[in-house]
Symmetry: C2
Subunit: 226 residues, 2 copies
């Protein structure tokens, strides 16, 4: 299947987006991706941490992982990132939906070989998780680098799908005596929990106390599409 | 590959869980799943709404969807649900992690044929999204049922993977002057947004204003595993 064919959003094509800005904003906001590949005809879908680094994603795992080994040989793979922005309550069960933003990327992973590029990629993973943290944490040792498989996954064949806005009901349902609207949802930080073995003199860094992830409210400026 | 083999948690086996209570709690809390399958050797990973109904998942989509058609013929599939409960900040970049709960289910989907079972399954989807909503919304018409492919996916070959608790640092890192701990994250409802075409006399239902999804704090009672 050709790249341009597989990435095309077939269902509800008006929800499809291919511009880099939309794609990268979704990828920069997500915390986990779901990586799909097959082994002996059986599809696997595995949740993984990731980072976007320019025009590629960074994935990592133990060198002992059979799944990382499978990806590292460059098998056909699909990496999907999905953000849930809200529940869409229509008058009819049929028109219930979710507001969401997702990216689906197709391609093959490639293992990073050089210590320097592996170390930089692992820093990107920490920075993606929580910006400001990389310089505040000990970088990987030689032994840790050796124990870690680090993969890059190109972003040259991907598309986004976005739903925003209110429910779209059939005209004949608009007189029903049923509340309709959107309940926004966003991943929200709770109170930071210090490690039990943390020195009591070490305070919570600003990048933890001020942590924010969701940009869903800004995204609501994207025109509504059912 | 046999069922018992593919579901086995190979990496970090102490994070693996196979008991029904753990599996069902994760599945009941999740809002979306990621469905994996392949078409002409290309893996696809697609986000979908779902519901758990007893010992099966319910999936649905348009009868015009090529992806639903592919699943409906009973291709090998993998359905994964992942909840992110927190960011785990260790002193070393290497030991950074996330607290999460995930379920991976293997099997084949089967299309529901009877109007009655399709209608009940669609009600389950709405109830899964927002408990209390099904009886408050118009059930599917014959035309809507005809336009909707509804699939059941068995839960007889699945496993959970769970990480909870604080970071686990190398002893040699414990004296570093770096904050370490967990930043909890949970999907949190915002202010409900009434549809622009809603009659102003219809108030927000209790199941919307009191909506809560995350049980991550209760889950923290599961013993910690790195």
């Amino acid at each position: 299947m050709s790249g341009s064919k597989r990435r095309e959003v077939k269902r509800l094509p008006k929800r499809g987006h291919y511009d880099q800005e939309t794609l990268y904003r979704i990828l920069d906001e997500g915390l986990i991706c779901h990586v799909g590949f097959e082994v002996e005809g059986q599809p696997f879908v595995i949740p993984m941490a990731y980072a976007r680094d320019g025009d590629r994603l960074i994935l990592h795992g133990s060198v002992a992982s059979r799944l990382m080994a499978r990806l590292a040989i460059g098998c056909e793979a699909c990496v999907t990132v999905t953000l849930v922005d809200g529940l869409v309550l229509a008058r009819s069960q049929f028109h219930h939906s979710m507001n969401y933003r997702s990216v689906v990327a197709f391609g093959h992973a490639r293992p990073l070989q050089e210590d320097k590029e592996k170390r930089q990629a692992l820093e990107r993973l920490v920075e993606h998780l929580i910006p400001g943290r990389a310089e505040d944490s000990r970088e990987a040792s030689r032994e840790e680098l050796n124990a870690t498989e680090v993969l890059e996954f190109p972003l040259d064949d991907c598309s986004a799908k976005v739903r925003t806005g209110p429910p779209v009901d059939a005209k004949s349902d608009l007189l029903l005596d049923t509340w309709a609207g959107v309940l926004p949802l966003a991943p929200t930080p709770g109170t930071p929990l210090a490690a039990p073995d943390l020195d009591a003199g070490i305070g919570i860094p600003d990048y933890v106390s001020g942590y924010a992830r969701s940009t869903a409210e800004e995204e609501a400026s994207i025109p509504a599409h059912e």
